[in-house]
Symmetry: C2
DNA sequence: GCAATATGGCAGTGATGTTGACTTATATGC
DNA sequence: GCATATAAGTCAACATCACTGCCATATTGC
């Protein structure tokens, strides 16, 4: 057995520890995203549609450019997905009140129902993991992921006060 | 301000908390995977190539079916990616010693160099997040992600003793 | 009026995944 | 030894999701 596990918690950055973290991210994210696919496939939708439904549901009457800023994809990529969601009646577009060039996005009743169904699938997965891991682990989970997010992610996460700005407890 | 944050840690499963976790996973995973792309693009490679390089590097002389079992993609999807990696000299194929139908996969010297470069990019991202979040947070991060992984993920993670089997401290 | 902005659209391309059917080489059971 | 199973590779066809580049339309702001 090469080099025993360090008991000193300050030495946790060995390559094996890092690789384990990488693999956990890969398998964990895969397990987390597996759920909604079975709901989306029969409707002819994919992950991109899910992301749009999610963020539009969470930010009613958001503009197209706001959504583009969150998803960080091109206008054309979003356009196709959005057009399908509007055509099938899951998303509503209305001109902005102050600026009529804008198209404000919101979920229709059907869109809300679908988003709720997708949310429920992932809620159960995540809630179960939270319960098994414990509240303290959840706090660490959130703090590490927040640090992994880029500046755009931080801007979004901090802009939605519901979330805790993960200041490090007892930070040096 | 609707419904104040519960001080009781047993009530952390409200919808807002769950949605925050979903968003953290999305933005955190995106930030984590952003690094290697700039290295891979000039070589004509993508994320699929990265995953193959990663797991072959980590499991030298693994068989094609073992890799298929880890990645959970079809033989055809893997085949295309693998063929390109072999053609460009990053991955070596050798017949198995006991079963000559098998093709055992390993990284060439160039493959190891490339994998190391990709690893370094993500190691820095992850190590920085670990440092900022603290050792205790890292433990929670790992435990939640482990619970999110599916059975295939668990089988892989537990099969590589380097990782800690995330038994819950003080579990009920 | 005119430049900038918000949005939508078209054409083409590429990476990644899928299904289904088929081939080749080798191993194994009887 | 021969039938069958298995490991791997291959081909055709297709879907999703992203990209670039270019252009059109409506509206705003100066």
């Amino acid at each position: 057995m090469p080099e025993p596990r360090p008991s000193n918690p300050l030495l946790f950055l060995r390559e094996e520890e890092i690789r384990q973290g990488m693999e956990l991210l890969y398998f964990g994210y895969r397990g987390f995203t597996a759920g909604p696919d079975s709901v989306l496939r029969p409707l002819g939708f994919g992950r991109a549609h899910h992301r749009v439904l999610y963020f539009v549901g969470r930010n009613p009457n958001m503009t197209v450019s706001a959504l583009l800023g969150i998803l960080r994809i091109t206008k054309q990529s979003l356009s196709r997905v959005l057009k399908e969601l509007v055509a099938k009646g899951f998303v509503l577009q209305r001109p902005g009140t102050t600026d009529r060039r804008q198209r404000c996005l919101a979920l229709s009743a059907a869109g809300e129902a679908l988003e709720k169904q997708l949310f429920e699938a992932q809620r159960q997965t995540l809630a179960r993991a939270y319960r098994e891991a414990g509240a303290q682990a959840v706090e660490g989970f959130r703090r590490v992921l927040f640090m992994l997010a880029d500046v755009d992610g931080h801007a979004y996460l901090l802009g939605h006060g519901a979330g805790a700005p993960p200041a490090r407890r007892g930070a040096r």
